[in-house]
Symmetry: C2
Subunit: 341 residues, 2 copies
DNA sequence: CTGAAAGCGCTTACAG
DNA sequence: CTGAAAGCGCTTACAG
């Protein structure tokens, strides 16, 4: 029934009949405290519902308890929470909760190198940077400032320079392209975004390799992510405007919204999906599950990635070296109407 | 080129040739500092890129700089970031950014009264509680603990007890029901969720009043939010299993996923949408924009609500009384195929 | 095994 | 108008 102030370490020390030092030692398992004393302190702490002030601890230990999440493509997307790009939202939500469970607080940050950024953006204990660009200045900044950070997707120009969870693996590409082949595709076109990040670049590279191995000429196109569904017309123009022999019988888009646009553009020209053309996306969005036809996508497991990233970030924040660079979870296939004949 | 520690108030004081006290006064506009001195301090601060430690300030002022966002329906939804329920995601994203812009950090919190909650969840400077339930224990807890908070949607049992941004206004109901009428509806059925929150209860009440005014018998049903699209069958059974004279020619669901389910269930029974049945939703989700037929929804402006909520929460956090209880932004209508004959 | 003291970087009564 | 001092709630060398 204590409606007022929270108990401090002094209150607890007094109640347990010891000094604040001993309380601190007992609760943090430091120093040499007799088990009898430690037990008494812990019991009193529970009884008083004592919770050490992270603020005071932070001041002492020069920590803020803040984890910063920097979503690099944020500004290239058309709204703050872009429709159809739920990948990042799932990352944010899961990361927030994972951080909280570990007594950290997650802060969505724009660009920490910008002058006048809020304190927390500058003073986070560790940073998670999603989809860094080639030679990304944010990574350069963080590394110069000696801030602990990891990236989701490597900086394509500095692959092994920083800790990162890789993206666009050959395994995921293989998963989708062999599915398309089994579904009847003989000539697969690839559509990436134009952002220079590992996701686009590594996927493209892996796809080229796969196509080469399987004797297919690469049919490749890059379209700005921000065009979303509107890109469909241009993509279909590109691949179906040319002579017959060049036409693909499957289009694999990295972003779900491009795939949606492709389906619509194809249907409007009498190209049937999936009968005449298979369409699939790598990073799916909700709409791909409900539009007609539904579109096959990869499930890239953003929740798992977010959770792993937060756990790694906390290790870094607390000064523990990472045992191993974490591997991304294997994607799985969500097969839907657009690739089911 | 300072790669190491940040400047502290002492560094700045030394550089400006004054005491830390004077620095503090000058930068915070307190005390009486000569304009000449203040100007010098500000100039040096900018030069050294001095940023006061929010941690130290927080310890001193007993503030954490944390705003907690409690999404009450969180656990009743089927995943952490439920598909089709993008309303909350848009709130979270916008609130995160708005908080950051004001030097606060937003923390997604589950239940702050649960024993063992993280520090931040217990020590936030202010709380925002979305969709509280009737006699919500979380509100009781916060109010007993004297924590500043506001709610998005009032506690239906304690309407004026706490600061809240109202939901389910008669104006929004009127907007949708008169649209349905103009679109040809003569007998409108209403489907709410089962959570006992203001959104469900106030909307239902306003809808009943509207129907009464317009000479329609109320055709009403409540279905658990968590059933999502699966609820469609039961809803259509309910309204189309009965004798002819009771059948609605329009169904208005509060949640977008229910509306999706209704459309699917109706179509599978040969009830055409919109020809035989108009369908609309209040809280739309992405899928309603892309499924076929697309479904008419209200845009409840979650971004605006989130931003307003954060601004109010900060006022409360900093001990300033709210000038006025904020009004929710008026919803607008997104008319789509499901109500266009 | 235990505790007094200093200090993390600020703010704020108070004295001058 | 300016600054020395105390204190916010912790942690950690250090002394006993």
């Amino acid at each position: 029934m204590d409606f007022s102030a929270r108990a401090t370490i002094r209150d607890l020390a007094k109640a347990a009949g010891v000094s604040p030092t001993t309380v601190s030692h007992a609760l943090n398992g430091k120093g040499n405290v007799s088990e009898r004393t430690a037990e008494r302190v812990r019991r009193m702490a529970a009884e008083m519902n004592y919770r050490p002030s992270e603020i005071a601890r932070g001041l002492q230990q020069q920590r803020t308890g803040i984890l910063a999440l920097i979503i690099r493509p944020f500004r290239t997307l058309d709204t703050v929470l872009p429709n159809g790009v739920d990948y990042f939202l799932r990352v944010v939500g899961t990361a927030s909760l994972a951080a909280m469970e570990n007594n950290y607080t997650l802060m969505l940050v724009d660009d920490p190198s910008r002058p006048g950024v809020p304190f927390g953006a500058q003073a986070a204990d560790a940073y998670i940077v999603t989809e860094p660009y080639e030679n990304d200045p944010v990574l350069t900044y963080l590394s110069q400032k000696r801030k602990p950070f990891l990236t989701l997707g490597a900086d394509p120009a500095r692959k092994d320079a920083f800790i990162s969870i890789d993206e666009g693996s050959a395994r995921d590409v293989e998963l989708m392209l062999s599915h398309l082949t089994r579904a009847g595709a003989g000539r697969i076109a690839i559509v990436t975004g134009t952002d220079r990040n590992q996701w686009n670049l590594a996927t493209l590279e892996a796809a080229r390799a796969w196509l080469d191995t399987h004797g297919q000429e690469p049919l490749v196109m890059s379209v700005p992510e921000v065009e979303g569904e509107n890109a469909g017309e241009a993509i279909v123009d590109e691949f179906f405007g040319a002579a017959d022999r060049d036409r693909p019988d499957a289009i694999y888009c990295l972003t779900g919204r491009h795939a949606s646009g492709v389906v619509r553009a194809a249907l409007s020209r009498g190209i049937r999906v999936p009968q005449d053309l298979l369409v699939a996306a790598a990073s799916g969005s909700i709409q791909n599950r409900v539009e007609s036809p539904t579109i096959t996508t990869l499930d890239l497991k953003p929740e798992e990635i977010a959770r792993t990233a937060v756990e790694c970030a906390i290790e870094l924040a607390e000064g523990r070296p990472l045992q191993a660079v974490p591997a991304p979870p294997p994607a799985t296939l969500d097969i839907r109407e657009s690739t089911t004949r």
